[in-house]
Subunit: 368 residues, 2 copies
């Protein structure tokens, strides 16, 4: 399994997207978005997605070089038509616009329609935090979430990300409004492991713990029944309607507000986003709020554990993963490595593991 | 049990708050807030709370006539110091300011510190929807939510409310970020019923289903262990860290952003709020988005049921309750009726059920 530094993966992915016809700045944005995910241990949204993007660009669903068009603008708000551009390009432009507005008037909100998958929501929220602002980002997706009492999915996994700068580190919440994302089910299926929780509703309304069965039969099938449970689970006993309700709010912000397309109708295209940036200087002040949030985080970390596991704060796991990959490099799984090699060959780009890999193959042949 | 019309209860509560020294307009705002809750079937936030407000006003925690002070203002944002005013007065002023800003620049955000309990969050979100805007409201509270792996509560029940106008009715999400609110546990305790779900973590880290034990021993005890579970439940299996994370975000918006007081330190005072109003005319347009959301709601209602119960949309239950109470009146439970009678007697205000009640008592005496 190739292990590659963040910097070399950024260069590789950038060069591939230049190959598709994106300009250098755009290609770098996409590469940083994908490798930010890999660096933080979110492999499902990293270089593993190259094959998906390759298909979508090749078949014309994603338009290279398209940055979207501002349809309507006010001092604190804007609507962007993504014109089927790459989600990372349109999304970054939208969040930058929200940040610019927030710095001028205190808060900025930008809704986007007709975009594409934009990677992790946390990446965009973090763009605001990089500049000392509080950031919010959401997107819709395919219909995956089963509303309470419904036999079939109708709402996307609809992640919410919130990034808040602190004087010591960062608070970063980034999660789907389903109990888990489909990617987490796929990981269990790959490993041949059962699902440990009430993550998926089977076609008969019961919980399905067979990960492979879920992938094969439950979700994403046209006209299918079953799907991912909302946070809080099936039915009303543990308030699954709250996860469903929050998912529905995200659907309204990302589809209704920009007059885009509902997750139920998206089929992987025409995805919508919603971004918010908020300047703490319009409220309690940057320095004071950063210190306040750092103390809040310290007090959460200091809470006594009830079960031996430490009390974590949103972002802790991802930042620990970044420390690890910065020191040890990022693992690219074999399947992804082969897929990326094929794409790279088309553009005459050399993959950074080409040499190691050749050695490894030679070694295998020698052993055989 | 007295059954009284919404209008007569509003008049009663208004007159009581005039008795405390609020001016007529302020008293009406408070009365409409409390009776809006009763009207929508949320008795825990209605006239039942008179005793609590009476204590807090009498002991000086809540300052009558205080409307708060704008500390800092930008075109799209403001910070208000509530100066320990009544939550309903300070909160309504804050949301009106957010609405005013949204109409001018597209979105308005107002954070509030040092306020008091403000009733239901949904009331404030609805103020925006009444004017064709999208509204968001949150508040912190006492520490009730147990962060994932923690032995004790540290975050408030921290409700989130979102109101969105549609061309046929309204979308209204309003719920705590704990699995249930403490009020729901209290209802089960009053009825002597066990808790049906994983709502409360006992002091030893297990789930407690004994409602009376929860009220007596678990929550709100100084230095106590145990508390309300986040949406998603205990531990990580069903992603309880998502409910915890969303609760933490609300804590940041309502305590850190306005430099107020954390739920963990609030002890029923110095509560913070956060309000957001968003003008759809800055995005897809009012008429078009209202039609879009109405269609979304219709499609959710039309989803096939997996278990015989209809698929509902956030707000459905509350609006059905309002139809019922508009036709049949609002029930005031006996305990509340006696408490309100005592307060009313102090101010020389007649309760609207005084006559019925006297008849009822006479009848009981006659039977005895």
């Amino acid at each position: 399994m190739p292990i590659v530094s963040y910097d070399r993966l950024v260069t590789l992915v950038r060069d591939l997207f230049i190959g598709y016809g994106f300009n250098e700045e755009q290609a770098l944005i996409i590469a940083q978005n994908l490798e930010d995910a890999d660096r933080h241990g979110i492999a499902s949204h990293g270089i593993q997605r190259m094959r998906l993007y390759d298909q979508r660009i090749t078949n014309g669903y994603i338009k290279p070089n398209e940055e979207g068009r501002i349809v309507h603008e006010m001092p604190a708000a804007a609507l962007i038509d993504g014109r089927h551009g790459m989600g990372q390009i349109v999304g970054t432009r939208a969040m930058r616009l929200a940040i610019e507005k927030a710095k001028k008037v205190g808060i900025g909100a930008v809704a986007v329609r007709d975009s594409n998958h934009f990677g992790t929501a946390g990446y965009y929220a973090s763009l605001a935090a990089d500049e000392g602002l509080w950031g919010y980002a959401s997107t819709n997706s395919n219909a995956l979430l089963v509303p309470t009492h419904s036999a079939k999915p109708f709402i996307g996994s609809n992640p919410i990300a919130v990034a808040v700068p602190t004087s010591r580190g960062r608070f970063l919440y980034d999660a789907a409004t389903t109990t888990v994302s489909l990617g987490k089910v796929e990981v269990h299926a790959k490993l041949g492991e059962p699902l440990p929780g009430d993550w998926v509703m089977n076609t008969d309304g019961t919980i399905d713990r067979d990960a492979q069965d879920v992938i094969d039969n439950v979700t994403l099938k046209p006209g299918g029944r079953g799907g991912l449970t909302p946070i809080g689970g099936l039915g009303e006993t543990n308030s699954g309607y709250k996860g469903y309700g929050i998912g529905a709010v995200v659907e309204l912000l990302t589809a209704a507000l920009p007059l885009g397309v509902l997750s139920a109708d998206v089929h992987g295209q025409s995805i919508g986003h919603f971004f918010l940036a908020l300047d703490p200087d319009a409220f309690g002040g940057r320095e004071a709020t950063e210190e306040y949030v750092a103390d809040f985080v310290d007090r959460l970390h200091a809470l006594p554990s009830v079960d031996g596991s430490p009390v974590l704060v949103p972002g802790d796991k991802e930042f620990a993963a970044a420390d690890r990959t910065d020191a040890e490099g990022i693992e690219v799984d074999e399947k992804t490595a082969r897929e990326v090699e094929q794409i790279a060959a088309r553009f005459g780009v050399e993959v950074p593991w080409a040499h190691d890999d050749a050695d490894e193959r030679t070694a295998q042949v020698a052993v055989a």
